[in-house]
Symmetry: C2
Subunit: 204 residues, 2 copies
């Protein structure tokens, strides 16, 4: 019997989608509990560290999307075969998080003048800087982010792409063929393809 | 023979200090290569993903301070005994990183008016929110962040405290006895105490 599992997150892809991808990949049935933005403020205080995503799995409550993905990655045999392989995945994932944070910082900036200034830096410097190097990394690793094989890091990256594309308002992998090909490869894994075909359609 | 090891980072505690603590705890001799801020811009392009800290260990180059600390934690037997213990450490560490990022975002804000605004949120909301909950977490875990025993997460936290205290301009653990006691306990571990006694004195 599959573990009883429930993911609570906003009704967007965002930081929930890598978890949804991994659960789908592992054929772990889950309740996809989506919270509308306006319903979040009164709920926040009841959540550990006031945070989502919250994953309830194996009778436990988990927060922090990256920690959750690493835990699922281990369960699914996608976390490397030794300490060095695991470290390579962790380094790639934290680098993608750095990129995502910089992009989010621009995207959610409420002051329009500041947002325009951030936009220049993000599009002219940050995105090309990270994407060029990630593209090389994937080439060096035979089409994956780490250790020459599929890991939870690849699934994490592919799942965050749609969110990052929405924030950037274009496909951030378009000039980086190794990244585009990695994203495509993940989205064509049968269990992920199935999830994509039935997930709620959201912008972010 | 201890592995040949070299840490390259700014001449501050910052994100390098958790690595220095862990290397010291493990009695792994390392070259503490400190780069002055003004020497960094020309070096940046030569670094993987333009980043420091860079740890050269076991003939490998590692970036991303958290990934490095987790790798060292595993080597030193401080990364949990099973997937759930490891996940608890990861969740605590990522939560501390969230706090650190919010504090840094305020500290490094160049615009004085914006900085004042951020200051209010950070001191009246962010710090108490996180510290209260971390304080409870440490109580629930018998004086540690996770799994009722010493982990790399505790060392990570204690090493980042001085940096966060400097950014906040006060001891952030002062009203949180479990956190204060955890920091003290780590700083009194003989190998860490020895490191603290001989490290270069820096503000940040």
């Amino acid at each position: 019997m599959a573990p009883k599992c429930k993911l609570t997150y906003f009704a967007i892809m965002g930081l929930g989608e890598p978890i949804r991808y991994l659960l789908s990949y592992g054929k772990i049935e889950f309740e996809d509990n989506r919270i509308e933005f306006e319903k979040w403020p009164p709920l926040k205080a009841s959540m550990p560290f006031g945070q989502m995503p919250l994953l309830e799995i194996d009778g436990k409550k988990m927060i922090q999307s990256t920690a959750i993905c690493r835990y699922l990655g281990k369960k699914l045999g996608l976390a490397g075969e030794n300490e060095w392989e695991s470290a390579q995945i962790d380094m790639a994932v934290d680098t993608i998080t750095d990129l995502r944070l910089k992009l989010s910082d621009y995207y959610w900036e409420p002051d329009e003048a500041i947002k325009q200034k951030k936009k220049e830096t993000v599009f002219n410097e940050t995105l090309p800087f990270y994407l060029e190097r990630l593209n090389v990394l994937v080439k060096e690793n035979g089409g994956y982010l780490a250790a020459g094989k599929l890991s939870w890091g690849d699934i994490f990256f592919a799942a965050l792409c749609d969110y990052m594309n929405c924030a950037a308002k274009f496909d951030i992998t378009k000039d980086y063929p190794n990244l585009a090909s990695l994203k495509k490869k993940i989205s064509e894994l049968p269990a992920i393809k199935d999830w994509i075909s039935r997930r709620p359609v959201t912008e972010l």
